[in-house]
Symmetry: C2
Amino acid sequence: MREEETFVVPPLGGQSAEPPEGGTTNHIERLKLACQNAGLRMTHQRMEIFREVAQTDEHPDADTILKRVRERMPTISHDTVYRTLSSLEDMGLISRVDPVCGRARYDANSDAHHHFICTECGCIADVYLNDEIPLPEGIENLGRVESLHLQIRGMCHNCKNN
Amino acid sequence: MREEETFVVPPLGGQSAEPPEGGTTNHIERLKLACQNAGLRMTHQRMEIFREVAQTDEHPDADTILKRVRERMPTISHDTVYRTLSSLEDMGLISRVDPVCGRARYDANSDAHHHFICTECGCIADVYLNDEIPLPEGIENLGRVESLHLQIRGMCHNCKNN
DNA sequence: CTTAGTGCAAACGCTTTGCACTGAT
DNA sequence: ATCAGTGCAAAGCGTTTGCACTAAG
């Protein structure tokens, strides 16, 4: 997996129901509200870290987030990033994407969606399904199904052409 | 995630196309053949490790495999387990299951299948889909799709009742 | 003022690697 | 006899934790 991928999701045909996501400014409002609900304090660090994850669809890893936040906040430490990502996840503001192999990646897109993951460069793109995934009938015998996570693995456009 | 899960896949209704898997003895033959093709040597360690993964549907992690193989082969080292799992994966004999969170798990079931993963105890069960997963039309714009990995997350029967 | 959150440093857990010995071919 | 594979030990890497200081409420 390469280090810094600036993967931009190519325009997908008539594929996806677009996320109902609002503008960029209400990220702070969403965070503020979520912190209040969870009884957590609203700190500069939390704001900057959430902003960084919410601003992009690149699914950055912890280290990438650290580097970007440091540009505006040079004293922030890497453990604060890890702790904050963890609490943002607990608040349901972001989710952790289990990578093909390697470090965890974070996603602030809270709409039901899946991921295309390039096995070459590790870039991740959001994918929206129009139809439901057909689970087998006996699935409840295994347990209560809570969520579906589909990883569509392959080679991305960029890697194919290089 | 607990340490030693002895999760047994419950009988699933009319759910799954059973894997065409043969008996237990031909594991050694499969390994021998694969090693020859790959130009690798056939060692006791490789045999024992592959046997351990091929014998169970528990999707054990590296450490569990180490412990079990040590019962018959007390001097085997943990790095040999990691190296061997890696080469078995390269040969296509086993595959690595990205866990919900935590250590990698291994699977010798080479039929197209997906996984039910309990977010409580971490147990993994194989799931066979009768119907195809409906990918969106524009998916090729993202890249060449090579494989689909569906994680059905939830709480398993055992954890639900405890 | 109180106590959650931060930064530092050090530890942690899983995995990988350098090296010399062992054993499969 | 040769060299891939092994075992040992130590390092590597992402992530987590203990502690005292800082700052949000």
